[in-house]
């Protein structure tokens, strides 16, 4: 299980390849990458605040819960904080399992829980305005799937 919370960009392709090769013939890898949306050019930048200490703790708990529910060879979560511009990669998760159903379900679960249970907050900058992104009811509702 690999958890990284960092301000610096990460190399999505290299991390995906490294994670997959590290699992040495495990059958199925699913990755998710979250990217700052372009939204037609209106958004200039996004800033992500987090709660150092609790962030790592929450992500570890979510990953451990995934490992309890599904048979996983490994999982990886990388999440950035700080200022990012459209097109930049915000975060990724990766799951490896002998069977694709486990890898898909675990990655989907990690994303749902990370969205609503890991202490990150997004602020969007467009023109003169700066606004905190509101949590979506749909994101909270998504947790009930599990």
């Amino acid at each position: 299980m690999q958890i990284r919370v960092q301000e610096a960009p990460f190399d999505y392709g290299a991390e995906s390849a490294r994670f997959t090769d590290g699992c040495n013939g495990i059958g199925a890898v699913v990755t998710f990458c979250g990217i700052v949306r372009n939204d037609g050019g209106a958004l200039q930048a996004m800033e992500i605040e987090h709660y150092p200490g609790m962030t790592e703790r929450a992500l570890t708990q979510i990953a451990e819960e995934a490992a309890r529910r599904w048979t996983l060879a490994d999982c990886l979560i990388i999440h950035r904080f700080g200022r990012m511009t459209p097109g930049e990669k915000i975060m990724m998760v990766a799951t490896a399992s002998a069977h694709r159903a486990d890898a898909f379900a675990a990655a989907d679960f990690l994303m749902d829980y990370l969205k609503s249970r890991a202490p990150f907050w997004k602020k969007e900058f467009s023109g003169d305005s700066a606004e905190w992104v509101a949590a979506k009811d749909a994101d909270e509702a998504a947790l009930e799937r599990w």
């Binding site: 605040e49 709660y51 609790m54 703790r57 969205k115 990150f120 907050w121 602020k123």
Partner: protein, 83 residues
């Protein structure tokens, strides 16, 4: 008891500071919120709609009726929007 209180996102902005240390006899999170809100308008404003506020005790999510006994760090923040 002495508590470190942390504020994040718009709670931090409305209250105007990221963290403070308070001495309190509040028994629960709700008691602490009432005590802070009584102190100054900026707290009362930040805590005016608790449905939009989440709390963590020693870095674990908790409810507003959770007891504060033994707690060192309380954090208030809006619903999370990561990912």
């Amino acid at each position: 008891m002495t508590l470190d209180i942390l504020y994040f996102a718009w709670l931090r902005e409305r209250i105007g500071l990221p963290r403070e240390t308070v001495t309190t006899e509040a028994a629960t999170v709700a008691d602490l919120v009432a005590e802070l809100s009584a102190r100054e308008d900026r707290y009362a404003l930040a805590f005016s709609d608790l449905s939009a506020v989440r709390v963590a005790l020693d870095q674990d999510l908790a409810d507003f009726d959770a007891p504060l006994a033994g707690v060192r760090e309380v954090a208030f923040f809006p619903p999370m929007t990561g990912g």
